[in-house]
């Protein structure tokens, strides 16, 4: 079996082994399912409640999408403005740091008070969680451009806009994608947690309902769904990243050292 396939198989096999261990211990110890459900019970809950899990997912993803889109657009523009006008950075950088210091869970109830049970408080929580990583990574990325490279382009007589699009932004892309990967994972969790405080739908709401009913397997089922969404988005962004900034990665090896003869 070649090395590549072997390395790809390792993680799934490990997870499978852990699940089997969990199942075995749970059954042998006769743990009540409302305290520790075993994987097979969680699996059944997932299957039986698939329609509801799907519908609640859509609500959560919608909230997350709005928040993330806002953070992306406003965060990106903020970072660009901070790089183009130095003075602005002094004012805005601390502000975006502060946005990360806000104990999001603590102010979620206030947001519900202000904006009701609908989509907005969740979108705002998502923004609070994702704005900072996006602004900071994009800004740092844009600033990391080699000053000599910028001088070279200035010596060409290039305009600021050309320097930005030809040099600064491409060199910031790896940083930007790191920020985006953090942001999507935070966004999924953020939206769900915000639903906890007050909602009529969504995976967070679903978890809260099931937990009140001591349907712990259902709670775990929703957690699994959340994790899957997070993984899916993370994977999607990694996929785009590989295509957009292929040059930042080492090329796949075509030539390997020949094995020494025994």
């Amino acid at each position: 079996m070649n090395r590549y396939i072997r390395s790809r198989l390792f993680a799934p096999l490990l997870i499978l082994a852990l699940l089997m261990l969990w199942e075995a211990v749970g059954r042998l110890a006769h743990l009540p399912p409302y305290i520790v459900p075993v994987p097979s019970q969680i699996g059944r809950a997932l299957w039986e409640d698939r329609v509801s899990l799907w519908e609640n997912s859509l609500t959560t993803l919608g909230e997350m999408g709005i928040g993330l889109a806002f953070s992306l657009i406003v965060g990106w523009s903020t970072a660009v403005a901070m790089v183009q006008w130095r003075g602005l950075a002094g004012a805005l950088y601390p502000l975006s740091v502060v946005s990360q210091m806000i104990p999001t869970l603590a102010i979620a109830p206030v947001l519900v008070l202000w904006f009701g049970y609908g989509i907005w408080p969740k979108a705002i929580v998502t923004v609070l969680l994702t704005f900072f990583p996006l602004v900071v990574t994009t800004y740092d990325g844009l600033r990391s451009t080699d000053p000599e490279l910028i001088d070279l382009y200035r010596s060409f007589g290039a305009s600021n806009a050309r320097i930005f699009w030809s040099v600064r932004w491409p060199y910031a892309l790896p940083h930007f994608f790191s920020g985006l990967k953090m942001a999507v994972t935070w966004a999924v969790v953020g939206a769900a947690v915000a639903e906890w405080v007050g909602a009529q739908a969504g995976l967070g709401y679903y978890i809260q309902q099931r937990s009140h009913q001591f349907a712990t397997a259902g709670v775990f089922a929703a957690v699994v769904v959340l994790a899957l969404w997070g993984l899916l988005f993370f994977g999607f962004i990694t996929w785009i990243e590989r295509r957009a900034v292929w040059w930042a990665y080492a090329r796949p090896v075509e030539w390997e050292p020949e094995q020494p003869q025994a």
Binding site: S155, R162, V245
Partner: protein, 254 residues
């Protein structure tokens, strides 16, 4: 004749936040005549790169003026400048990289790339136009960077230690190649180097800088006949020049 590039009473200093001045140039006069190859030789940290960046319009003198063909240089974009490192963009091919300067000077992309492609063979890059920089050797990268500057066809050509980072063999190779290229195109060149042999092999005039701040340069006219070959480096005249320049470099330090 108007110099292709002239510094008139130029002073320049770096200042820090607490107002300290680090004086690099003081009241310096320099003239570079059209179609001459000038080498700027001096010890590390003496201000050669700073001087070149002033000539490129990337830095502005604190007092005095920088004239390009008699016109004051207000902003970068009229000369051809090549920094010490190759600074090729890793996501662009050789052709795209080398066309970047022309495109910034508003030559349409197709046309710019066409011009670059025509020059690939002369720059020893034939067949590598679509390669990315990571597929090139150090010497080829340097040639690609040089192509990017040379294709601008702007005067003068300012080169900051273009071969400084290369091994001795590759460097000798590129020196020979540059010598050949220059003798064909005869553009005004200012080459920064701290390799006296390189300066003597290539240049018509050598400006020696010996100390910081730079107040004046000592000029040596190198009159080896052209076309030159590597053979000149083995002549007694070459050694005599070399001795004189090394002495001049030493004097400044004493």
């Amino acid at each position: 004749m108007t110099p292709a590039l002239a510094l008139r009473q130029v002073s320049f200093a770096y200042v820090n936040a607490s107002g300290e001045r680090w004086l690099v140039l003081e009241g310096l006069d320099v003239s570079v005549m059209p179609q001459t190859f000038v080498a700027l030789v001096g010890p590390s940290g003496s201000g050669k790169s700073t001087l070149l960046r002033l000539m490129a319009g990337l830095l502005r003198p604190q007092s005095g003026e920088v004239l390009r063909f008699g016109q004051q240089l207000h902003s970068p974009g009229s000369v051809a400048y090549m920094p010490q490192r190759d600074l090729l963009l890793p996501w662009k091919t050789v052709v795209e990289n080398a066309a970047a300067g022309l495109q910034a000077r508003h030559v349409p992309r197709k046309q710019a790339e066409q011009r670059v492609r025509e020059l690939l063979p002369a720059f020893g890059l034939e067949g590598f136009g679509e390669a990315t920089p990571d597929q090139l050797s150090g010497g080829m990268r340097q040639r690609a960077a040089f192509l990017r500057t040379a294709v601008l066809e702007a005067e003068p050509l300012l080169l900051d230690e273009p071969f400084g980072a290369l091994d001795a063999l590759t460097r000798a190779d590129l020196q020979r190649w540059l010598l050949h290229m220059w003798e064909q195109m005869r553009r005004t060149v200012v080459l920064v180097t701290h390799d006296v042999d390189e300066a003597l092999l290539l240049a018509d005039q050598i400006f020696v800088i010996s100390e910081r701040p730079i107040r004046h340069t000592q000029t040596f006219s190198v009159d080896f006949p052209r076309p030159r070959t590597y053979e000149v480096t083995l002549t007694p005249d070459f050694l005599a020049y070399k001795r004189a320049i090394l002495v001049s470099l030493q004097e400044g330090r004493a």
